[in-house]
């Protein structure tokens, strides 16, 4: 909803900045190329790390309890599925 729109807006802004940066580097001198490349890589790294952390959060949120259950069911002595599901 509102938060998604904000995220989309920030993504658009970042993309626009990236394009402007690329244009600037093309038009600018050769010396500015190095710094623009660094800012572009740092932006890429930031975007990718944000994306990675978001995916990791979703994976952990859905997968942590199943992971604990799988590890527990495979430990010795092996409990049975009935013991897992029954309320006694």
């Amino acid at each position: 909803m509102r938060i998604e729109k904000r995220e989309m807006a920030s993504k658009v802004l970042v993309k626009a900045k990236g394009k402007a940066g690329a244009k600037g580097s093309k038009g600018g001198s050769g010396g500015a190329n190095e710094s623009n490349r660094w800012t572009n890589t740092s932006k890429c790294v930031k975007d990718w790390s944000t994306w990675a952390i978001k995916k990791a959060k979703v994976v952990t949120h859905y997968g942590f309890i199943p992971l604990v259950i799988v590890i527990g069911m495979n430990s010795e002595p092996k409990p049975s599925i009935y013991q897992l599901l029954s309320p006694v």
Binding site: I3, K57, T60, H61, F64, I65, L67, V68, I69, I71, G72, M73, S75, E76, P77, K78, P79, Q83, L84, P87
Partner: protein, 312 residues
């Protein structure tokens, strides 16, 4: 410890240095609770801050395996939400919480999932004999409300050091060293990127068989002192003093902790006009009855709770 003569405050002679250091190491590991920096106070405050609750609580713990434990927990009662005004706002809530714990000497996994989608996860991995990674996370479905923290602990012969990384660009490090068999000193630094705050703090802990005294000072303005005296095997008394020199906030509390054969009773009284008591009664093997009461005379807030815990 009966064979050890307490060393004088001046440096002990070199011949007794090995015996002084060895019991230091042994004592460090034999303390009732390991004293990582964050537990320097909490261990002493187990008597003064029991898990008070309001409403009804029912916990069922199911042991499938000596290492694998499931827990089902039901809670119905009002929860307080923080409000700016002096009035307390309470909203009745009810939730069911499912938990799965896996305990291995080298790996511990602890997960709790509530009906509203909140996950509380803790992981403790022994990466090597001395290095431990601890991570905990509270994940919610609401965006930007999740938090996580990872700690790397290194345990040396008579010291511990820890490095913390948290969500919201939180970095922290702390170090605690046993100076004599009874005294340990430590310090910490932290930097919170989101709130642009940084701080440094020092802590000291002196403990013998009968008592534990701790003190902690932080640059955030907090001074906390506590003293716990073990009167006998069954009774211990605790007192605590917290002072914030930035906001001029003072709280002093005194409490008791009775660990009897069939029950554990903890009570405290506060300088904020708050008295609390917490009783855990063992009705039968594996069946515990819990009563919790907190009476805040100043805010006129009365909280009573009862519960039942089934399973170990």
């Amino acid at each position: 410890m009966a064979t050890l003569v307490p060393p004088a405050t001046t440096a002990p002679p070199a011949a007794s240095k090995p015996t002084v250091i060895e019991p230091e190491k042994v004592d460090y590991l034999n303390l009732p609770c390991p004293i990582p920096y964050e537990e320097i106070h909490r261990e002493a405050l187990m008597s003064l801050k029991p898990e008070l609750f309001e409403g009804m609580r029912f916990d069922f713990t199911k042991v499938l395996n000596p290492r694998f434990v499931l827990s089902h927990s039901l809670f119905m009662g009002p929860t307080e939400i923080p409000s700016q005004s002096s009035e307390t706002i309470k909203i009745p809530t009810a939730h069911y919480e499912f938990g799965a714990n896996f305990l291995d000497p080298r790996l511990m996994l602890f997960g709790r999932l509530l009906t509203d989608g909140r996950l509380n996860a803790r992981v403790k991995v022994d990466l090597s004999e001395n290095l431990t990674l601890k991570a905990n996370a509270q994940l919610t479905n609401e965006p930007h409300m999740s938090q996580g923290m990872a700690n790397f602990d290194y345990k040396g012969k008579d010291y511990r050091s820890q490095f913390q990384l948290g969500s919201g660009a939180l970095f922290g490090a702390n170090y605690i060293q046993s100076v004599t068999p009874n005294l340990s000193l430590g310090g910490e630094v932290f930097w919170a990127g989101q709130h642009r705050k940084s701080g440094i703090g020092y802590a000291a802990r002196y403990n013998t068989d009968k008592m534990v005294a701790t003190g902690q000072v932080a640059s955030t303005g907090m001074v906390a002192l506590s003293y716990v005296h073990k009167v006998s095997e069954k009774v211990s008394l605790a007192s605590d003093f917290m002072y914030n020199y930035m906001s001029r906030d003072v709280t002093a509390s005194v409490g008791y902790d009775y660990i009897l054969r069939q029950c554990r009773l903890r009570g405290k009284i506060d300088s904020n006009g708050c008295t609390a008591a917490f009783l855990e009664e063992r009705l039968n093997m594996g069946l515990n009855f819990i009563l919790s009461a907190e009476i805040d005379h100043r805010k006129k807030d009365y909280k009573f709770g009862f519960g039942l815990t089934v399973g170990e």
